[in-house]
Point group: C2
Chain length 143, copies 2
């Protein structure tokens, strides 16, 4: 199973928002054009990013902008903003194991800390990468 394309899509549009902030009004249609994704999808995504405090969106007049310094927007921030975090857990348990079985009774407890370590490892790495890194790499391609 894969992490939904909302994540890479979000990185893409935030990068766009910064890259084109001086030359264009960055609307959902503008972003839809760069990503080749339906404008409504973009708006919904912007809504999630706004809720997370990562971007600002102008109702009425239109246009979205980044709400923080680029090096303070980590991939983890974006990941948590766009992936269903109320689920929170990366790993999914089969519910209702048999309590009469010693394995079924304890498997959840035993796995919990181990799987948390895995999730932590992933999140640590995610938090070490920021949009500033993306912009820096992008500049190389634009030379």
């Amino acid at each position: 199973m894969q992490i939904s394309s909302r994540f890479t899509l979000a990185v893409h549009i935030i990068t766009c928002m910064d890259t084109f902030k001086n030359d264009y009004k960055v609307t959902s249609d503008f972003l839809a054009s760069s990503t080749n994704v339906n404008p409504v999808i973009i708006r919904r995504l912007l809504g999630q990013l706004k809720t997370a405090g990562l971007v600002e969106v102008a109702r009425g007049s239109g246009g979205a902008s980044v709400a923080r310094p680029l090096d303070e927007i980590t991939f983890l921030d974006i990941y948590k903003a766009v992936e269903c975090v109320e689920c929170g857990e990366l790993f999914h348990f089969h519910e209702n194991p048999n309590n009469k079985c010693p394995v079924g009774r304890n498997i959840h407890n035993i796995l919990d800390d181990k799987l948390n370590r895995v999730q932590q490892a992933m999140e640590n790495e995610l938090s070490s990468i920021t949009i500033a890194d993306v912009i820096k790499d992008l500049d190389k391609y634009l030379v």
Copy 2:
């Protein structure tokens, strides 16, 4: 999005296979009873684990057994066995970004190595945990 419950389910049944190997014939029905999951689901899962060389399943006579020393079965082995690996990539890209846009044209390249680092971090942690660790923890609960 979550990693499918096949993963935790697989850890569960492999743990069962070892725990009960001396006292029971470990059939798909037996495993279904401990996990509270349909026997057919178990058989399909056993098929994947067998293909990966982690377990052996006896046709006809019935019963499944672990095919390797427990400390040589890592969570990564199991993860790769049961998660669609032909996909391979943890992160999913929106396809067809606009090549006329400098961001759309380069975003995939820019993100690839960064996201690979994240995936690597997760897989490293997964490969550091083995079924032997699970069994060791289980023993504590059984005292």
